[in-house]
């Protein structure tokens, strides 16, 4: 499944696994891919995320804000429960539907551009293209123009060569 993933994007996937594990998430979700991408060294990814000022901590906060607001909308608050802080996961998190979808979309993006490899910018574009779910909601909380960022990623990818 990952034969067209070069070392650069495998590094993103490994970091995403670490992000999920640290947050105690049993599944690797699309938001963990995005968190991993905020720490990536790929020049296109860095450039695009820098214009949106989307840094790791800011995204973490936006994800928490999204979660809190979603619970508040049904009258639930996490603070009402005596919950310990995040418990790190000791096993490798499995893929969630949102992250599987992102991988499939990344392959489609690369194929449409006739790119032989699925690189970090393809992964970024794939994550940004999700229209519903935690990632678009958290990005809205962070004040990030998701669609604009996706267009920018596409432009940067096109201008790469």
């Amino acid at each position: 499944m990952f034969e067209r993933f070069p070392r650069s994007s495998r590094r993103v996937l490994q970091r995403a696994r670490d992000e999920a594990a640290v947050l105690g998430s049993p599944k690797l979700e699309a938001e963990h891919l995005l968190l991993a991408l905020t720490r990536d060294e790929d020049p296109v990814v860095r450039q695009v995320l820098a214009t949106a000022r989307l840094e790791h901590d800011a995204l973490r906060q936006a994800l928490e804000a999204q979660d809190e607001a979603a619970l508040a909308s049904i009258g639930v608050s996490r603070t009402a429960f005596a919950l310990p802080p995040n418990r790190p996961l000791t096993r490798t998190p499995g893929w969630s539907t949102s992250s599987k979808q992102a991988l499939i979309r990344a392959k489609t993006v690369a194929a449409a551009r006739h790119d032989g490899h699925i690189e970090p910018p393809h992964l970024l574009l794939a994550v940004l293209r999700a229209e519903a779910g935690t990632v678009p909601r958290a990005l809205a909380f962070a004040g990030v123009d998701r669609i604009g960022l996706a267009v920018q990623t596409e432009t940067a990818l096109a201008g790469r060569r």
Partner: protein, 78 residues
């Protein structure tokens, strides 16, 4: 404030996001309560019965995470 223009139908998206957040909260609560019960001396079998799941299911889901915390649990029934 949340910008809703990115979600297809804001009210519906809010409701569905609430379900996702609630599932996550329920999972976190389950881990905390399982850990607490084990610390109080419950066996995995008793925890499983209380949660209405099999002992294998609850043990598989939590044993390593709870062990990783260094919690002393009664393991004779595993």
């Amino acid at each position: 404030m949340m910008k809703t223009e990115t979600a297809p139908i804001p009210e519906l998206a809010d409701g569905l996001a609430a379900v996702v957040a609630l599932r996550r909260l329920a999972d976190d609560l389950e881990l905390a309560e399982v850990e607490r019960a084990l610390q109080e001396g419950w066996t995995w079998s008793q925890v499983a019965e209380a949660l209405d799941v099999t002992r294998q299911a609850v043990h598989k889901k939590y044993a390593r995470r709870i062990d990783a915390l260094g919690t002393t649990t009664r393991r004779h029934d595993v």
